[in-house]
């Protein structure tokens, strides 16, 4: 009765949520970063299950790189990367838990009770999707794409400029 697709999407959804909970429950910083990585990978697998193959593969690839870089930043900036000291690193505990729960319930209520319109019948196959996406990127959404590219370039230059060590000039 349950289709294979629905089963896989639910399985990877559960995996994504479980890994996301591990991110904030574990004391070891490295495990936290890698748990976020595997949560995003489960999300990429969900995308592939929902037949958005290009997006799924892209998500898996990009998130592995990004979360690994986050891992090294955690090791650089955090006080107890191994997690053996069991420090408590949270503040505003009640407020944040209540805010999280309210957000979750609100989104679930909207998702369950809204009328989303008629369901579509068939999805184009993956090769056709990639071609359509390419034509859309360089056709109708060309301005969006170029703006995004320029924004990335600006962000790269800005981040490098902020992070470079200031040159000390000798005054003599």
């Amino acid at each position: 009765m349950i289709s294979v697709q629905l089963f896989f999407i639910s399985f990877f959804g559960l995996a994504a949520v479980w890994f996301a909970v591990v991110v904030f429950r574990t004391h070891s910083m490295m495990r936290s970063a890698l748990a976020l990585l595997f949560s995003q990978t489960a999300l990429g697998a969900m995308f592939i299950g929902m037949q958005a193959e290009f997006l799924g593969v892209l998500q898996i690839m990009m998130m592995a790189t990004e979360m690994s870089i986050m891992a090294i930043f955690m090791v650089m900036f955090m006080m107890d990367p191994g997690g053996l000291g069991k420090m408590d690193m949270t503040h505003q505990k009640r407020l944040s838990v209540i805010a999280g729960l309210v957000a979750f319930v609100a989104v679930v209520v909207v998702a369950v009770f809204a009328d989303w319109g008629p369901l579509a019948s068939s999805v184009p196959d993956a090769a056709q999707q990639i071609e359509d996406l390419g034509l859309e990127l360089l056709g109708r959404s060309m301005l969006i794409f170029e703006t995004a590219g320029l924004t990335i370039l600006t962000a790269m230059i800005a981040a490098t400029a902020v992070a470079v060590e200031p040159i000390k000039r000798n005054r003599d």
Partner: protein, 103 residues
């Protein structure tokens, strides 16, 4: 009520809630950025679910997801640049010590 959408939308809602919890409760900048990543990931799952079930013929849905992925990467890059600068100036990236403009 469209039950086909439920697994993906509820996953998106859960990730959104956990992300908000993380963004509000963590004292370290890096953990806070992880919370923001989870919020954006929840949004992306919702987008792909809507694209798949409601409008699979329009590639603009996938375009939106690409832009959100780009925004995630850019925001992480700038956030870590700021974190490096702050670490050099103060010696830590804790949010508790960032309550004043001075320093």
């Amino acid at each position: 009520m469209t039950p086909e959408l439920f697994p993906a939308l509820i996953t998106g809602a859960a990730l959104f809630g956990i992300g908000i919890y993380g963004a509000l409760s963590q004292t370290n900048l890096v953990m806070l950025l992880m919370g923001v990543e989870l919020i954006l990931a929840g949004a992306m799952v919702n987008l792909v679910a809507f694209w798949h079930h409601l409008h699979p013929d329009t590639p603009a849905g996938q375009m939106f997801v690409l832009i959100v992925m780009t925004v995630m990467a850019v925001e992480m890059a700038v956030g870590f640049g700021v974190a490096i600068a702050r670490f050099r100036a103060i010696g830590s990236v804790e949010m508790e010590e960032a309550a004043e403009l001075k320093g």
